[in-house]
């Protein structure tokens, strides 16, 4: 460990806020927390594991919302803007961590805290204001009901500082929509229902502002490592392309035949040429960037013609470009931009929203629900008309939207009549824009990661983009995919401590060796100089997340896809004939992980090896 009292990039302060009692307390970071978990996602899972009792209601007072930064946050290193928020998910009933870019995390650290933990629940709407080491709860009654954009505007006006950074919820979070997200400017920690956790606590927003400078253990070495990183980014061809178009590239997965279409029945969207990158070129009007990011992958888009003329958004990202096209077979960029903005304003996760609407379309087509059930809407594939209306209904829990606001798993349970098999989710989290049948390691991550079907937690860039690190792979093959999935999940968890942008993990815009140089120079923690140690921390995080879920009764039985994915061969396209071979793939994965083959639970030997023996009961 570094010597206490020496310069370090940690602020070394945790703020704990109890909304029930309106009390505050401060703690320092323990040596064990720093050494074993580094920051960000690592801090979050350890604190949540320690603080929560198993079985608590995610929407009850006992749940926590943990706002996280990392040791590189707020420095001048490139591409470390990410904010992480960890909580028990009301959508999955399991561990969850979500993430947003933008400027909030550096400002939280400048305001004086590595971590802010919110517990309890207020009796009326409040927001938390953290200003240069001071803090207070302020009345948010007048903000309740406002959308995310207006909430940002009015808080900045009230506090008289346009440079205040904010995370907040919209009406969807207030109405406890199970997949409501948390929004900071126009960036979203969208997944898993963190917005509903805030809504249940009557916490409309957290606002931060500060002037604290980040200290470094070795400023000279840090500067050298930052320069090395900038050179790496300048030479990276994927990064260069990413700077121009961001993620607006739906053609790639269509060409692979893994663009989930018709609620995951198919893998190629009819008329996908209408939504390919060259079409997005026509509506892209400005670039945006997160804090200290030379990649500037963000895009402002604006619709100039047609039915949605005038609609604009920051985005859509690839996932949203899919969510409002593939599931319902509606290849329309105008619609997508309008829906993206609506989700951002009302505070919804666009992935779960689009997936859930696609689920409703399939139920309608199969006669499991009818027009009356759908509030008079005609949910036929190809019909774009009901989509924006359903987004609004979901956010406000009105009409048919009230049922869809529960997410596909719970909505299917309530509908019955076999609807469960058409809910495209894992552990309750709606599946994203990659068909598991045509990319086996990508699918294996969706199947096994503790969050449910989260693509970012173990993105298989080898299968999707043919990036040959650590090796080239055949995307249809099952051999070696357990080890590859472990690799992708562990490196992501490692980089999520910093907190590095996930796009750089995918594009090899960072290496463990360079990351270790940055960490050592920033913190002075000697073990961080060893990339092998960082790999171990990544593995530790994944295993502790798994053990959180094991404690909740979630395990092997929940590592399961809808049977469409495992039993029905892809009907057509470049991935035709493929199924996801769950049994051998899972067996390979558990073996690679050192988890019990029958239960899917980490073995005692593995837990001891990772210094997680405190999870053994």
């Amino acid at each position: 460990m570094q010597a206490r009292g020496k310069p370090s990039s940690y602020v070394n302060r945790i703020l704990r806020v109890n909304l029930t009692n309106r009390t505050f307390s401060e703690q320092t970071l323990s040596d064990e927390l720093i050494h074993n978990y580094i920051g960000g996602r690592g801090f979050g899972v350890k604190l949540l594991y320690d603080d929560l009792k198993p079985g608590i209601d995610p929407l009850g007072e006992e749940n926590e919302l943990i706002s996280l930064t990392g040791p590189i946050t707020g420095t001048n290193a490139q591409c470390f803007p990410r904010w992480k928020v960890t909580f028990k998910s009301p959508l999955t009933g399991a561990y969850f961590t979500s993430s947003a870019g933008g400027y909030f995390a550096p400002e939280q650290k400048a305001a004086g805290f590595d971590i802010i933990i919110v517990e309890g629940a207020a009796d009326k709407p409040v927001y938390l204001w953290v200003n240069d080491g001071k803090y207070e709860l302020r009345d948010a009654t007048y903000l309740w009901g406002l959308d995310c954009d207006d909430t940002h505007t009015l808080i900045r006006e009230e506090l008289g500082d346009p440079r205040i950074r904010i995370t907040c919820i919209g009406p969807a979070g207030e109405n406890l929509v199970k997949y409501a997200g948390i929004f900071t400017d126009r960036r979203a920690a969208g997944r898993g229902g963190g917005g509903a956790v805030m809504g249940a606590k009557k916490l409309k927003a957290i606002a931060v502002r500060g002037s604290r400078k980040i200290e470094l253990a070795d400023p000279g070495a840090f500067k050298t490592a930052v320069r090395e990183h900038i050179q790496l980014l300048r030479n990276n061809k994927h990064v260069q392309r990413h700077s121009v178009i961001g993620t607006q590239e739906p053609e790639f997965t269509n060409l692979l035949g893994i663009f989930p279409t018709r609620n995951f029945q198919e893998g190629v969207l009819p008329h996908w040429e209408n939504i390919e990158s060259s079409e997005y070129d026509k509506v892209r009007v400005r670039k945006t960037a997160c804090y200290r990011c030379m990649v500037h992958c963000g895009n402002i888009t604006k619709v100039n013609t047609g039915k949605y003329k005038g609609a604009w958004a920051e985005g859509p990202e690839y996932e949203t470009a899919w969510a409002f096209t593939g599931p319902m077979v509606t290849p329309d960029i105008g619609l997508t931009i309008a829906a993206d903005k609506l989700c951002d304003d009302l505070g919804l996760d666009s992935i779960s929203t689009g997936n859930t609407i696609g689920f409703a379309y399939e139920l309608y087509g199969r006669g499991i629900i009818n027009k009356e059930d759908a509030g008079g809407l005609e949910l036929t594939f190809g019909n774009a008309e009901p989509i924006l209306e359903l987004v609004r209904q979901i956010a406000y829990r009105q009409g048919f939207g009230n049922l869809l606001a529960e997410g596909t798993r719970e909505a299917a349970r309530r509908i019955g009549k076999g609807a469960e098999q058409y809910a495209m989710q894992v552990k309750g989290l709606e599946m994203p824009a990659y068909h598991p049948r045509g990319a086996k390691a990508h699918g294996l991550n969706l199947l096994t990661i503790s969050l449910g079907a989260d693509h970012n937690a173990g993105y298989s860039n080898q299968e999707i983009f043919n990036i040959q690190v650590p090796r080239a792979v055949d995307r249809f093959a099952i051999e070696g995919k357990g080890e590859l999935t472990k690799y992708n999940q562990d490196i992501t968890a490692m980089m999520n401590t910093g907190i590095l942008c996930n796009f750089l993990v995918v594009m090899i815009g960072m290496t463990p060796g360079l990351y270790s140089k940055l960490l050592l120079a920033a913190t002075g923690v000697e073990d961080f100089a060893d990339p092998d140690y960082l790999w171990k921390v990544g593995e530790r995080i994944i295993n502790l997340e798994r053990m959180f879920n094991v404690r909740e009764g979630i395990g092997r039985k929940d590592d399961v896809f809808p049977k469409r994915i495992t039993n029905e061969p892809m009907p057509s396209g470049p991935s035709a004939g493929q199924v996801f071979e769950a049994e051998p793939l899972l067996a390979d994965y558990y073996k690679a992980r050192g988890w019990d083959a029958e239960s899917g639970i980490p073995t005692e030997a593995k837990l001891n090896e990772l210094e997680l023996s405190f999870t053994i009961k």
Partner: protein
């Protein structure tokens, strides 16, 4: 035989989005590339000169230009020529 070629990114600026080409029956990927260089000239040659700036998919399967130029094409193959893909 006929092969469908799809162009994306900077290659779209040189060629139309989609072309169906008639090639000899035993044509290889390298023959197709040579034809395209002849048709679209130095700009296309420049565009494909750096393998790191180029991504080729044949019927949705990744294809390394450096290693797979001798890949034999078949009738009705779809060859996509793209810039390197980015995150998602």
């Amino acid at each position: 035989m006929n092969v469908e070629v799809l162009f994306f990114g900077q290659f779209r600026e040189l060629a139309t989005r989609r072309q169906v080409l008639s090639l000899k029956d035993d044509a290889r990927l390298v023959d197709l590339i040579e034809w395209l260089v002849k048709e679209y000239g130095d700009d296309f040659r420049k565009g494909i000169s750096d393998p790191e700036r180029l991504h080729i998919l044949i019927n949705g399967q990744h294809c390394d230009l450096m290693d797979n130029t001798k890949t034999v094409l078949k009738d009705s193959d779809v060859v996509a020529i793209l810039p390197p893909a980015t995150g998602g």
